[in-house]
Amino acid sequence: MAQTNPPFMSGVPELLVLRLLARQEMYGYELVKAVRVVTGEAIRLGEGVIYPVLHGLERSGALSARRKPVNGRTRVYYSVTPAGERRLEKLSSEWHRVRNGIESVLESPANA
């Protein structure tokens, strides 16, 4: 079974989901494939966990969902709400802060 990313990456699924859905409306399976493609397979989510993330974000008002009939099946498409865009902005700035902090540590001399 493919390795998924370790637990310290909590919060990352929400950031990725909101960022990708801010570009275009997608359904769950499409979103999982997009995460793999856009991250160059660097991030592999256990595919099933995307759904509780989507439902949790929908319940908190960050996403909206609608059912669309596609080829005889009904798919649930998700898109970002204005509240979701504010949440994305907040998560992005937190991520940049963490990333900059880690880069500072990695770039500092070994004995500093």
């Binding site: 079974m1 998924t4 769950g28 399976y29 999982v32 256990g46 595919e47 099933g48 966990v49 759904y51 509780p52 993330v53 439902h55 949790g56 319940r59 908190s60 099946r73 798919r75 649930v76």
Partner: protein
């Protein structure tokens, strides 16, 4: 397509046991099933046999415990009793107390009847004995009255 129907039923039960609201658990399971079908179709298109495709599609969903654990991180998906366990416990205790009180009030008139019914043999024996004693006493008194009346 080989079915994993019973495993989806177990998954929904697991989500319910984890405290996910039933509507949310049902919807999660439905979308996971859709995802499974998409994954299965992709694997078959890639040339895999149906059993292999089904196994890969099921494994791609990941561990049901992981799915339940992620869902449990979202309070909005949890039932009221899991979001507020103390309050739910108090309400449940009150409800039991009220139910027991009502039961006592309804049952109390029946208690003497139940008591007597449980001791009916003993009561029957004592009743017969008391009846016989009363008849004997009445007979003696009648005899005495007759004798004293003659004298």
């Amino acid at each position: 397509m080989p079915e994993h129907g019973s495993q989806f039923v177990e998954l929904e039960q697991l989500l319910n046991q984890a405290g996910i609201v039933p509507d949310s658990a049902q919807r999660l399971t439905e979308e996971l099933r859709d995802h499974y079908e998409d994954r299965y179709a992709e694997a078959v298109d890639a040339g895999l046999r149906t059993e292999q495709a089904a196994a890969i599609a099921w494994q791609s969903l990941g561990s049901p415990d992981d799915i339940a654990a992620v869902a449990a991180q979202y309070r909005e998906l949890m039932s009221v009793s899991h979001r507020h366990p103390l309050l739910a416990g108090l309400i449940q205790g009150l409800a039991h107390g009220v139910a027991n009180s009502v039961l006592c009030v309804v049952a109390s008139p029946a208690l003497p009847v139940i008591y007597c019914a449980q001791r009916r043999e003993s009561i029957a024996r004592w009743s017969v004995s008391a009846g016989l004693a009363a008849m004997l006493t009445a007979g003696m008194l009648l005899s005495m009255q007759t004798i004293l009346g003659v004298i």
